[in-house]
Symmetry: C2
Subunit: 111 residues, 2 copies
DNA sequence: ATATTATATAATTATATACTGATATGTTTA
DNA sequence: TAAACATATCAGTATATAATTATATAATAT
């Protein structure tokens, strides 16, 4: 049962990370860093088609990264938690570190 | 050109997150939280087949989440940066928050 | 009531991804 | 030198995923 619990925890976590693992969804999340946006604003900011943006927003809601609030005919999406923003920032730091490692590696190999 | 730079940054970030977005790779990363491991140790800890573990390790190296160091016939893998561990921890916190939101939502809807 | 706007959903298609089994390559041991 | 061990790679297959087009649904304006 413990193995099952661990397995489920890992599956849930993988699902959460899958939310971040597509360029379209990432661009939506980064658009929301500046605050809540409706679908048309997200479409304009990301250059995605409206059905494509809607599909990805459904996926992001499903894995818990965004929440939706309807105001009349507009649906406003926002990041579900400040730590979603933290994950994006941390990823940038890891990427910078990885890029630095690759650069240093390149210099050493030229010696 | 700025648009291209942003697009590339987003693609790289998506690729980094793709490293986390599969249960097999996640279980490998979590195994490495305790320190460097060789392939056989990882295979034992994760119950993956050896070629499968090897494929995923190649993917994790490729997106910069782990580094490899050969010592004789053994290749030792480790997390490339402490922030990789931080990403895993932060994801747990987001998941806990999401789960709490879902639980509260369930209670409200039973009213 | 109808038209317009905003958004979600369905069906289809193309592409990407994950696993297995077989096998290749490199290191150590006998 | 050959066998054993550790690991990487390849080919094939099955499944998952992303985008598009068409369309449905809901809210607002006329």
């Amino acid at each position: 049962m413990l193995l099952t619990a661990q397995t489920n925890a890992i599956s849930l976590k993988a699902k959460l990370f899958r939310g971040f693992s597509d360029p379209s969804r990432l661009s939506i999340l980064e658009c929301l860093l500046d605050g809540p946006r409706n679908v048309s604003e997200i479409v304009a900011a990301t250059d995605l088609s409206q059905p494509n943006a809607s599909n990805h927003l459904a996926c992001l809601r499903d894995c818990g990264l965004v929440t939706a609030a309807q105001e009349g005919r507009y649906v406003y999406y926002r990041l579900s938690d400040d730590r979603v923003a933290n994950l994006l920032t941390l990823a940038d730091e890891v990427l910078a570190e990885v890029a630095r490692g690759v650069y240093e590696c390149t210099r050493v190999s030229q010696t």
